[in-house]
Amino acid sequence: MSDDFDPLRQLRPDRVEPDDPGDPAMFSRAKEQLMSTIDQDHAPTYTLATPDIYPRLAYRDELAAVEYLTRVFQFSEQREARQEYDGKHLCWMRVGTGVVMLGRDTPVHRIHSPQDVGLTTVMMNVYVHDIDAHYAHAVDQGADITMELQDAFFGERRYEATDLEGHRWHFGERFDDIRARGGQAP
């Protein structure tokens, strides 16, 4: 589309300067404030700072990925931070004290879905509470298990799964933590 408004269109600040997706923690803080105004009894949830390093994973269908990771691996999306642009989305998922960012595969950042390149070069490591239950839930939801649940020599019970587009996930729980919750560990 090209018309008399073009010069003004070009001045849109996020066109002039690179578009910064913004800090998901900012949205969480603003939402927390709103909720404590709305509901006097609102128990403030501690808003985690965004870690200094966190991965951005590329998917062909990022919303399907959000649904999958929520349902199968029990991640939770920071829904208030979700950003939409030109029909694409950037989403942040909280996993314990960590965060992963999901977005569409993009030529700008040159990241791709494993589905397109046929392999992946990275594995996401996640510590969970009660790995046995986590594993059972994932299996029940049809997870593609690529390493069965097992006790590793370095003191961790773990399993691995590959998600809907081929990203690899490694889930683990330390033996000490298993014992602390009353579970059996070597």
Binding site: D3, Q10, L11, P13, K31, L34, T37, R79
Partner: protein
């Protein structure tokens, strides 16, 4: 897992206020981006919370026949912007400056002249935006930057769609005139990049 409409959520929030949180989840990012575009990131962060607090307080007045709350929220944000005219003018001129600094290093004559031309047009657009009366500027930016349709702009500003049409028509005409007038002076423009601001 089909989600319910904004209208349904707002209706539910009359009985159960915490339901309003989902309205924030759905629209905060877009409203924040709008505020960043018009004022910059610092003001936007403070104001985005304000928009939703006001919306919450006024939810009784929401027209439940409107399934999406986005124009309503844009309207609240736009009202808040009125107090920040000065920072808005500063921001858009800064953008125009940035555009003109990006002249290509390539010395191929035609390319440079095209780029100078584009930069000059952007300066003119910045000048126009900051000189427009507020109602026209709001309509213009909601349409051109936010991509709202005429109907949505009308809903946002609470004015008839005919008024939106005439405001945008006027702005379009002035922009065209200014661009045509400025085309002749563009060499001048480039030697005095700070001039428009004074």
């Amino acid at each position: 897992m089909e989600e319910s409409s904004d209208a349904a959520l707002i209706a539910a929030s009359l009985e159960e206020p915490v339901r309003f949180g989902a309205i924030f989840d759905r629209h905060a990012a877009v409203l924040h981006r709008y505020l960043v575009r018009r004022l910059g990131p610092d003001e936007a962060e403070t104001m985005v919370g304000e928009v939703f607090r006001i919306a919450f307080e006024r939810r009784h007045t929401y027209d439940l026949l409107r399934p999406t709350a986005r124009p309503w929220l844009y309207g609240i944000a736009t009202n808040l912007l009125a107090k920040h005219r000065r920072s808005e003018a500063r921001r858009i001129h800064a953008m125009a400056r940035l555009v003109s600094q990006r002249l290509p290093s390539d010395d191929e004559a035609e390319r440079v002249s095209r780029a100078v031309d584009a930069a000059a047009r952007c300066r003119v657009a910045a000048e126009l935006v900051s000189s427009l009366p507020e109602p026209e500027r709001d309509a213009l930016l909601l349409h051109v930057w936010e991509g709202l349709s005429y109907d949505e702009v009308a809903e946002t500003l609470g004015i008839p769609v005919g008024t939106v049409r005439s405001r945008l028509h006027r702005a379009r005409g002035r922009l065209r005139e200014l661009v045509a007038g400025r085309g002749r002076e563009q060499g001048d423009e480039r030697r005095h990049p700070g001039r428009i601001e004074s």
